[in-house]
Amino acid sequence: MQPESAAAAPSRRSVLDLLLGAGVLGWIASIAYPVLRYLKPISLQEGAGPLRLTREELARLERERSLILRSGATRVLVFEDAEQRLRALEARCTHEGCTVQYVPGDSNVWCACHNGRFDLDGRVVAGPPPRPLARWTAQREPDGGVVVAPAPRTEQA
């Protein structure tokens, strides 16, 4: 048998090291990937879509002039402005995700968490929120019911 040359030995060692390293990395990935996929929640809720208010919700809107509803994973604020027009905005503050509220006295929408203020169209008036609230539409039906739906993209503030 021919003795191995000095140059060949380290190269075989380094190939083995490389294979071993790749094997260890693959082993870690084969554990980490299922765990990470397991932790990522699967989406059980449907996307946000049009919503018809129930009789109880209508009564509450009548009484309190504002109401928060859930459509899929989205919270929607429905309120009646000073001219008794129905309006709707996404209720999740664009700053840190708190739920906003309609303040009839100041005629604006307010987030109590970090004092963000929006106008009735969802545009930021004061405070730290970086983006406007997404607009929704609220329409009275001829039968007296109310339907709330995401506003078309062109209508967003």
Binding site: K40, Q45, R70, E96, T99, Q101, C111, C113, P128
Partner: protein
């Protein structure tokens, strides 16, 4: 050598099997260094560990009745506090001990900072201590949600929303933390697992390492003292430790009995209040726990957009940088590594207290009166007067008592406070001016050192 007759007693029984004599000899010779400063600072780590043990004990008792779930969490906590004999006391002890643990942990960390106990060769002890601090904050944050009340719901909504700012994986991380797009029952399950399994196991591991490192190296002697006097650990130091734990327990029991729902200061109260309702708006005056108040206030101070980033992203980037600087202090402080006095890092500790203290006062709306929407200018002015006054007193005391002469960082913190609160500039504008002043001051100090110190003696 004559063979001595076998000794009796439990120790000798164990010693024959496990060779405990060297351990006993080690304990007899173990010493705690004594220096010019008060030895009180050496007890705070032990006190923190004591409060953590109380957390484990009271946490186990709460687990007997607590049922995690959207329909059961709030109800079971109400059952514990209103129906179970002494249930109110167990919950009150758990809450008070959590706050006292954070207080003693922060004091322990500040004393380590001021005495430069983190210096070489104890860098890893500081890093493990910092990890324990982060785990303690994780405990506070995850435990906050478990009663599933209104306050818990919004605090968790804000806290988990803020991780969106993490580059690349932010959205994924938020979903993983919440178990869905919003805070829900799934968030409760995840936080419960974190609070009672993941975090305690992590703390056991890191505390074990922290104590092992301290055991291996001994406690840090005072700076610049080669052979300080020592106090025997066993029994002299140990008995003093036990005495402080007893005092801690008495303090804890007194507070838990007489103020079962906390002192009713926003951020230090745990009245159960109303059950969480994901479809209710956040209520006015909502605040996180006191040790998160400065971050909460910083989020309010940032404008919607700054330097191409959204306000919350920029605010969290600032918090991350500040935490990173704090964690890396042993590697940044080159003077204390050579066992030389390091006044700049003492001053950095004071400046950190002023910076966080001022933001915390502002978060409490000090000076805003009873108005639901206090005037921000009036609040800034009143808080600035308090923080500036405290800063001046601290500076005078440091000068008079300890002959400190290095005040650049604390002066910048005071300049920031004065420009914002007393002159009326914006928080970020005045902060930028203070940062420029620090940079200029550091440049000048370096320039002067280069001109006056011979090349061989340069730091």
């Amino acid at each position: 050598m004559s063979v001595s007759p076998p000794r009796r007693g439990l120790f000798s029984w164990l010693d024959r099997r496990y060779d405990l004599a060297p351990l006993a000899a080690f304990l007899q010779h173990k010493e705690v260094p004594l220096g010019v400063h008060s030895i009180f600072w050496y007890y705070l780590g032990g006190l923190t560990l004591f409060f953590f043990s109380v957390q484990i004990a009271t946490g186990l008792l709460l687990l007997v009745y607590y049922q995690v779930g959207e329909q059961t969490s709030y109800e079971s906590i109400r059952f514990i506090t209103t129906k179970v004999p002494f249930g109110w006391l167990v919950r009150s002890m758990h809450c008070w001990s959590a706050h006292l643990m954070i207080v003693s942990l922060v004091l322990h960390m500040l004393s380590t900072m001021m005495l430069k106990a983190y210096r070489t060769p104890r860098e890893l002890t500081w890093i493990t201590g910092f990890a324990l601090f982060a785990l303690a904050l994780g405990f506070g944050f995850s435990g906050y949600l478990l009663p599933w009340n209104e306050l818990a719901f919004f605090a968790t909504a804000v806290g988990t929303d803020s991780v969106k700012a993490v580059p690349w994986i932010g959205e994924w991380l938020m979903h993983v933390l919440r178990g869905g797009p919003d805070v829900s029952g799934h968030t409760l399950y995840r936080f419960f697992a974190l609070h009672v399994v993941v975090l305690p196991l992590s703390v056991f591991a890191v505390v074990g390492l922290h104590l092992l490192l301290i055991q291996r190296q001994g406690m840090a002697p005072p700076l610049g003292r080669e052979a300080p006097r020592g106090m025997r650990f066993f029994p002299d130091f140990m008995l003093r430790d036990l005495l402080l734990w007893l005092i801690g327990l008495i303090l804890l029991a007194t507070l838990a009995v007489f103020l079962p729902y906390g002192p009713r200061i926003p951020g230090i109260e745990w009245e159960l209040g109303r059950k969480a309702n994901p479809l209710a708006p956040a209520y006015p005056g909502i605040k996180p726990e006191w040790y998160f108040l400065w971050v909460y206030q910083l989020l309010k101070e940032f404008p919607p957009h700054i330097l191409g980033l959204e306000g919350p992203q920029a605010a969290l980037a600032v918090v991350t940088v500040l935490f990173a600087i704090w964690a890396l202090v042993p590697f940044l402080d080159r003077r204390s590594r050579r066992d030389e006095p390091s006044p700049a890092f003492t001053d950095l500790g004071v400046a950190a207290v002023l910076f966080i203290g001022f933001l915390t006062l502002k978060a409490w709306d000090i000076g805003g009166g009873k108005a639901a929407q206090p005037d921000p200018q009036a609040v800034a002015r009143a808080c600035a007067i308090w923080a500036f006054g405290a800063g001046l007193v601290a500076t005078a005391l440091r000068r008079a008592l300890w002959h400190h002469a290095w005040f650049l960082f604390s002066a910048a913190a005071l300049l920031h406070i004065a420009l914002h609160g007393l002159v009326g500039m914006s928080y970020l504008g005045s902060g930028a001016i203070a940062a420029i002043a620090v940079a200029a001051g550091l440049g000048f100090t370096r320039f002067r050192a280069h001109r006056t110190v011979p090349a061989g003696d340069r730091p």
